[in-house]
């Protein structure tokens, strides 16, 4: 990968945003989807679900439908996954272009409860046609306040879902034991302090919380990047460090999240060399990487994001907004310490040819 030349096309604004909705079995995904499908704010959204039966769409809500697609009276397009998500997303785009479905402007994708969300992220990055038409906006993870802590302990997939999230929706707070929400929030804050949380009872959540999370344009402003990387305010650098010392559950003990800042500009070769070493040696332990990099010679910050072995094509923003030119990268890792990653970047940095 290498950064695109001075952009003549806005490689973010031109793509349809996709939000992934993930969550363990019983976390309340179906309830949330039921609410979403009826929300007036969803009038240009396409929602890909696993089964119609689950969300129980009433007949009076249906404007038109076929075996796998239903247009709801609020303008929301609901469809079920056909053979696989890749094919469903392709088919949706083709039908959109032919005017066979309405011109939806965003997509919500329900992943199955047991699913590891990372392969779904890869789908968007590795399929050329999908990558050209869609961009990942965010990963939304639902965690229920009743069983959530236990699941994080017992189920590696649940921990992984929480670790990769950009947004976390805590459900069933109304029927949870007193203190359960606070305990869950504290746990999540240690595990993934870079995701914003909200509470949803009976699936009631503000649609705005689930969309427009990732940068939407190469003209993105600092506040857009801030919302993406640190939505709940600046995570203190030592937070992650302390977090590693607090007793954690059996499965997510190994999950760490930290943000690295770099004062000096990278050459693209240096940065990509470091990333390549990291992905080739420890790719499966890089649950999520996202951030922006100061690359010498580029007009603005270069956005990078990836999951495990696969990175999105880097996107160069049009300009830096202020004086602060530091690179800033969030890592969510498994069995991989902040110190190791820092040391790798430092080592590669010392080998790099000096900047002119």
């Amino acid at each position: 990968m290498s950064p695109s030349p001075a952009p003549t096309r806005d490689s973010l604004a031109g793509k349809l945003p996709v939000s992934l909705i993930t969550g363990f079995l019983g976390s309340g995904k179906t309830t949330l989807l039921k609410r979403l499908l009826r929300d007036p704010g969803m009038n240009r959204a396409a929602v890909i679900i696993n089964e119609f039966g689950e969300v129980g769409i009433d007949h009076e809500l249906v404007a038109s439908s076929s075996e796998s697609m239903t247009l709801l009276s609020n303008g929301c397009l609901c469809c079920t996954v056909r053979t696989d998500l890749q094919e469903t997303l392709r088919e949706l785009f083709i039908k959109r272009r032919a005017g066979e479905v309405m011109a939806f402007d965003r997509v919500f994708v329900e992943t199955t409860g047991l699913a590891d969300p990372v392969p779904v992220l890869h789908t968007l990055q590795t399929d050329g046609m999908l990558g050209a038409q869609y961009r990942l906006d965010c990963v939304v993870t639902l965690i229920d306040a009743v069983n959530g802590l236990q699941n994080l302990d017992d189920m590696p997939e649940a921990a992984k879902q929480a670790a990769v999230a950009d947004r976390i929706v805590i459900t069933k707070s109304d029927i949870a034991e007193p203190g359960a929400v606070a305990a869950l929030e504290a746990r999540l804050a240690r595990m993934n302090p870079y995701a914003a949380h909200c509470l949803a009872v009976n699936g009631e959540v503000d649609v705005a919380f689930l969309r427009d999370v990732g940068p939407r344009s190469t003209h993105a402003m600092p506040q857009d990047l801030e919302r993406w990387l640190a939505p709940s305010g600046e995570a203190r650098p030592e937070g992650a460090y302390l977090g590693e010392r607090v007793r954690a559950g059996a499965h997510d003990a190994a999950i760490r999240s930290f943000c690295l800042w770099f004062e000096k500009a990278f050459t693209w070769d240096t940065f990509s060399a470091a990333v390549q070493v990291l992905t080739s040696l420890r790719g499966s332990d890089l649950l999520r990487v996202k951030g922006f990099v100061n690359v010498a010679g580029e007009p603005g910050p270069v956005l990078v994001q990836g999951a495990q072995h696969v990175f999105h094509p880097p996107v160069t923003l049009e300009a830096w907004a202020g004086e602060d030119r530091r690179s800033r990268i969030v890592f969510i890792t498994r069995n991989l310490s902040r110190e190791s990653v820092e040391a790798l970047f430092a080592a590669v940095g010392t080998l790099a040819a000096p900047l002119n």
Binding site: A13, I94, K95, R97, A98, G99, E100, A103
Partner: protein
Amino acid sequence: MAQPLPGMKPRPDQELALNMKLVSHHELEGFGGIGEGMGMQLSRDGRRILWLAHESAPKNFTAVDVTDPRNPRVVVQTELPHAKVRSNSLDVVGDIMAVAYQTSAVNTKPAGFDLFDIGKPESPKLISHFDASGEHSRGVHAVWFVDGEYVHMASGAPDFQPTNPADDQFYRIVDVRKPAKPEEVGRWWLPGTRVGDSTPPLARHPKFDSGYRAHNTNVFPQRPDRAYVGYISGGAVILDIADKSRPKLISHWRYSPPYTGFTHTVLPLFERGLLIVSDECVHPDGKDWPKLVWVVDARLESNPVPISTFPLPPVEAFAKNGGRFGAHNLHENLPVPGSWKSEDVIVGTFFGGGVRAFDVSNPYQPQEIAYFVPPAPKLSRAGSIQLNDVYVDDRRLVYTVDRFAGGLYVLEMTI
């Protein structure tokens, strides 16, 4: 082949959009049928005035103040003298505008072009009329006027008798350096189309004979010695006009038949050695499909080689919605202030297929990157939108017009 879903057929009453957003829409005081003349004036008082030639009578041209694209305002709208003439085409250089006049029958006036002083956009003042009427002439179909010195045009002439009445409009160059006294300085026609030519009359297109006629006659400052001419049934023509009085054929790319004719625009991308060649769809219901936009390798201008076509949306979804569906006008990188210029992104109109933008940075695999298909305009006789022409300004705003009723649509591209 994408099949419509039951209950979800493509509907001409719905808006389709990708990476283009409607900023405003103006029905032009109820006269929303616009031809293929769009020019932008950056007026002395700092306004952006978009000049539009109507597709047919009763209106001649309309000027719209688009300084604030969210709030377009009609500045002036003019009348034609009678219903057997239409303007269809215009171009603007500084404060001078050339407007074409084509008649529905030969021997009818006015047939030619007018030059207007539009220094005060509210009150255009006629400077002169160039008469091209005659026994075999229907006047001027399209003008190209970008340097303030010469009008290049597809025109008949009183002294030109075509071998076939459909071949009446050929390439003419008119010197307008003295705007009050326009004078023809050169002409070229496809050999065999004029009575008396040594070349015998040409074989007609067996099914879609729209004539061996010039359509767009483009000349750019990068190559003032070249004219790029769409010659309808005759294909794409490159002429050496170093000596304007004696244009010489450099190359002639013919692809109809087997294709269905009507080569409309030949747009050179000089830095890339490419030509973008557009057809015009002229029959409804997909009868003359495919009408395409071609990418042509013109590194060797004497041997143009087609290498790809723009990927259009499925014909099954658009061809039967009423009216035409297929290629027509392109934004032609007009070499005048205010016009957007791009050698990578080409924007065109496709009648019922709306306005579409294509990335040709890889010329072998053009990609569609944006489109906007407005819903069928109320009162349109076609039954679907029929976007006819497009102009992109240097703010990357896209102006596109309906052929019958919809008027002007102003769009923002988010590419």
